[in-house]
């Protein structure tokens, strides 16, 4: 019983180490709540159903890119017949989703998917209308 101090000291050190990530998370005030995306404005609908866009938006972006740049086809007809101008900044963001920080980044940061290399060339619409500002 003379080792009691040592045993408890070791045990608490062990517990502290094992639970360290929890404390770190608490200190950083991280949460497991998913990103909150702005509600869709009335009468607005996405180019494809939400579930499809969640898993396949990157494929659609790639195909839009190839259609516009390589095939000079500048519009896209959705399944419901709506015709969209193929344009990341003007159509996807300015018309619907708003600045990339509020839309793209919120999910990408949450999912831990490193920043894709879109924004070194493409511009994001500013939160407040202010054309000419760099993003």
């Amino acid at each position: 019983m003379r080792d009691r101090v040592l045993i408890f000291a070791g045990l608490s050190l062990f517990l502290a180490l094992v639970t360290y990530p929890v404390w770190q998370g608490l200190a950083a005030r991280s949460s497991t709540a998913g990103p909150v995306l702005p509600a869709t404005a009335a009468g607005q609908k996405c180019v494809a159903p939400r579930d499809v866009m969640r898993v396949a938006h990157m494929e659609m972006l790639m195909s839009w890119r190839d259609l516009k740049v390589r095939e000079n086809q500048r519009t896209y007809t959705a399944a419901d017949g709506t015709v969209y101008t193929i344009d990341l900044t003007a159509t996807c963001l300015t018309q619907c989703h708003g600045p990339k920080e509020k839309f793209c980044d919120s999910c990408h940061a949450y999912a831990g998917v490193p920043a894709v290399n879109c924004w070194s060339c493409h511009t994001s619409p500013p939160a407040a209308p202010n054309p000419g500002e760099l993003r």
Binding site: V69, E71, N72, S120, C121, H122, T123, P125, E133, L134
Partner: protein, 254 residues
């Protein structure tokens, strides 16, 4: 079977003739796939005629350059070694080095606007390893910045120096950003795209629209009634170094 020397010689001669005929037939029938890089055939071939007499009347003018560079977010990098340009003024002697004599030099004077020639057989397209640059069916030599790996083979291949490399991030060197056009990033090559986005909307290229003298005329070289063809039929024109075989689509009325 015993092969005599005579038989051997006969067979050898026959083989040589057969092989030679095969090669000849192949060479005659199979035209080289020179147009392999051309995507989406169309009847047009966009081209431009620049009337240097009109241009000269305006004196030191850079309105086409400013319009182009503002439209396409072309940066103004202070270091001349890192310069990026789509259209710029170049001294006559540099543009037409073999059209100089000591008697004509005075008339040549000054500078003239130069840009990518959107060549008929573009050497830049032939060397690009990634097909980041290719020739569209309507004659426009296009760039896909997504694909460019920045190897700069195209810059070495272009005899006109029409291409610029982004040695530095261009964004800090933009005075104002046109939100309709993406910028480029460090590590890619860029050049004039004949305003493909404007053409798709039915507009003329920005430089053509900006010229106060109407010195730049844009149109379809394959259409005999187009304004470019009419000018070319009426007046004497020159291309930049046509002997190099690229077949420029930009013509200068001198």
């Amino acid at each position: 079977m015993k092969v005599t020397r005579k038989d051997f010689l006969r067979i050898a001669a026959g083989s040589v003739v057969a092989a030679g005929t095969g090669t000849l037939v192949h060479a005659l029938s199979g035209s080289a796939p020179a147009t392999a890089a051309t995507v989406g055939e169309s009847k047009q071939r966009w081209g431009m005629v620049i009337d240097l007499r009109q241009c000269r009347q305006q004196g030191e003018c850079d309105q086409c350059i400013r319009a182009c560079h503002q439209t396409h977010n072309v940066p103004e990098v202070p270091n001349p070694a890192h310069e990026v340009k789509w259209i710029w003024n170049e001294p006559f002697a540099k543009v037409f080095p073999f059209q100089q004599s000591e008697y004509t030099r005075q008339a040549d004077g000054g500078t003239l606007p130069v840009l990518c020639n959107h060549c008929a057989s573009p050497s830049c397209v032939r060397v690009c390893p990634t097909k980041a640059t290719w020739k569209r069916g309507d004659g426009i030599v296009m760039m896909d910045y997504h694909r460019c790996i920045g190897c700069r083979y195209c810059m070495a291949a272009c005899p006109y120096g029409s291409r610029s490399f982004n040695y530095v991030d261009p964004r800090p060197h933009l005075r104002q950003v046109n939100p309709e056009v993406p910028t480029r990033s460090a590590g890619v090559v860029e050049k004039c795209d004949f305003c493909t986005a404007r053409l798709a909307k039915g507009e003329l290229p920005a430089c053509v629209e900006a010229c106060p003298q109407g010195a730049m005329v844009f149109g379809d070289l394959n259409d005999e009634s187009s304004p470019v063809r009419q000018l070319l039929a009426e007046r004497y024109s020159v291309q930049r170094q046509p002997h190099l075989g690229c077949g420029p689509s930009i013509f200068y009325l001198v």
